[in-house]
């Protein structure tokens, strides 16, 4: 190899400079571009309404929506809380149910093969189609919504955790056998930690689905009355042509979904950051 014995700092060549510039641009652009596009879209929305003189009950201006968000904040906030409660509770139950069933499935191939089809049937049948049945069998409104959201949310957790519990390094399993590990020890020290990345992946999907489940369930149940989540605010605003409020509720649902996703991603990152490839920043 040729040696360079020039001790002066070597100036960066054109290629490295270009790479540096691109990296800097990407860092800023990652945030700037989406925000700029979002602002442009809002301005365009406003202009379209003004130039075409669209009445506010068909399409409100952005500031009308903001106004509705502020004016109806008490109403919307309590509805948001209701939706959040159902989402959170059903997600929790989905975690308990999904992981519990996955652990059960992991005990024996036969159990898994026998019962997995049921889980798939529940998953592939549209929740809207199942709801009338739930409506017949369940009285309590809250329970109905919970059940709906749970059915939608538990499957990704179940299938991912099952996959994770079954994808343990064969040699590690041998090692546990060699050391006379009990079933419980193998589950506790080997299979559950190994399934963690898979479970967290499922959880991220399930978080969004739980929200969708909660909203859809309320939509379907909405006509039955006394529910008060964001979905019923949307239905009600639609009937009364309070389009701005409808938009405000819609925005709240989107924001909730985004926050749920971010929180779950953050949890996943914190749990896996020490050891799992998915949580690593590009190094070396």
């Amino acid at each position: 190899m040729a040696s360079i014995d020039d001790s002066a700092p070597v100036p960066l060549d054109a290629e490295e400079m270009r790479r540096l510039r691109t990296a800097k641009l990407e860092r800023i652009g990652k945030w700037a571009f989406p925000i700029a596009i979002m602002c442009a879209a809002i301005v365009a929305w406003d202009r379209i309404v003004v130039w075409n003189a669209i009445p506010h009950y068909i399409l409100p201006r952005p500031q009308d929506v903001l106004q509705a968000l502020i004016d109806d904040r008490v109403l919307l906030f309590s509805s948001l809380m209701t939706t959040l409660r159902i989402t959170g509770l059903s997600l929790l139950l989905a975690v308990v149910g999904g992981v519990g069933l996955a652990v059960l499935f992991a005990q024996s191939k036969w159990v898994e093969m026998s019962f997995f089809p049921f889980a798939i049937v529940l998953q592939v049948t549209p929740i809207v189609a199942i709801f009338p049945l739930i409506n017949i069998y369940v009285d309590n409104q809250m329970t109905k919504l919970l059940l709906c959201a749970w059915i939608v949310a538990f499957f990704p957790i179940l299938s991912n955790t099952t996959l994770g519990l079954n994808s343990v390094d064969r040699n590690l399993r041998d090692l546990f056998r060699l050391n006379g590990a009990t079933r419980w020890q193998e589950l506790r020290y080997l299979r559950l930690p190994a399934a963690m990345p898979y479970f967290l992946g499922g959880l991220k999907i399930a978080g969004g689905l739980a929200l969708i489940g909660a909203v859809v369930a309320e939509f379907v149940a909405g006509s039955a009355g006394q529910s008060s989540g964001l979905a019923s605010r949307i239905i009600e605003a639609g009937y009364r042509l309070r389009t701005a409020r409808l938009f405000a509720a819609l925005i709240l649902i989107s924001l909730t979904g985004i926050v749920i996703f971010l929180v779950l991603s953050w949890i996943s990152h914190m749990v896996l950051r020490r050891w799992h490839e998915s949580a690593m920043k590009q190094e070396r």
Partner: protein
């Protein structure tokens, strides 16, 4: 402790009538081409699979679970657990608490020169360090037999040499018995006092080379004429094993790797 007359033929005859005698304190290498059943033999000794025919016959004090340590080809560490927890594992599975296990784990880590790395997770370690953790885990229960399945095959030569020397030192200090599976003539001659050469298809014992060079062996041994002669002798036996007529009916080619 003697393991006498294991005879087995496993499935598609991975092993055919293998007789192997292991004496206490042996450093025995199983050398042979890929597919000669070295690893299978090791797994049977470990009790990870059972022989189809024949039997394992232990003379001497009966072997408990913790009397066997196993080191795999890959480090096979739990990626989510730190070095300490990985080495603690065999003791933990026996119900030894973290506090009670600490002296043994610390001592083992010191023996493999990893003191200070207790809190590192495997991905923060180099390949050689991971293998050290794996060896420490294999030895933390003070086993009487250490089974090693091509443990250094994936490492670079410099790391391999260092680990060879460290392993020999541990073996001399702790007085355990080793069965070392390898496909490297040079490694087996450097490490062992006995080399059992195996032939493939079906896996069987082809011959044995006694390596009577005295211990301790250091880097100078690697360049000694004695070492060269032993390597030549072992290579000849291995070459014989490679060209030995296959006993199989199926398959036109004998895989020579």
């Amino acid at each position: 402790m003697r393991a006498v007359g294991k005879r087995f033929s496993n499935g598609v005859t991975a092993l055919e009538r293998v007789d192997l005698t292991l004496r206490e304190g042996d450093f025995l290498s199983l050398l042979g081409p890929s597919g000669c059943g070295k690893s299978t033999a090791l797994r049977i000794v470990a009790g990870l699979s059972s022989p189809t025919t024949g039997l394992l016959d232990w003379r001497g004090p009966p072997l408990a679970r913790t009397d066997i340590g196993f080191v795999f080809q890959e480090p096979t560490l739990m990626p989510w657990a730190n070095v300490f927890d990985n080495v603690w594992l065999p003791l933990r599975l026996k119900g030894v608490s973290r506090k009670d296990a600490t002296p043994a784990v610390s001592e083992m880590l010191e023996r493999v020169h990893l003191t200070g790395f207790e809190d590192a997770v495997p991905r923060e370690l180099s390949g050689g360090m991971k293998m050290r953790v794996s060896i420490a885990r294999g030895l933390v229960t003070k086993p009487r037999v250490l089974l090693m399945d091509e443990p250094f095959a994936a490492l670079d030569e410099i790391t391999r040499f260092t680990l060879n020397a460290d392993l020999l030192e541990l073996w001399q200090d702790e007085q355990f018995t080793v069965i070392f599976v390898t496909h490297s003539v040079f490694e087996s001659v450097f490490l062992s006092n006995r080399i059992v050469v195996m032939a493939a298809r079906p896996g069987r014992v082809f011959g044995e080379v006694a390596v009577d060079a005295p211990y301790p062996r250091d880097e100078a041994f690697r360049t000694s004429p004695e070492y060269a002669a032993l390597c030549r002798k072992t290579s000849d036996v291995l070459a014989g094993a490679m060209t030995a007529p296959a006993l199989t009916k199926a398959g036109a080619f004998d895989g020579v790797h």
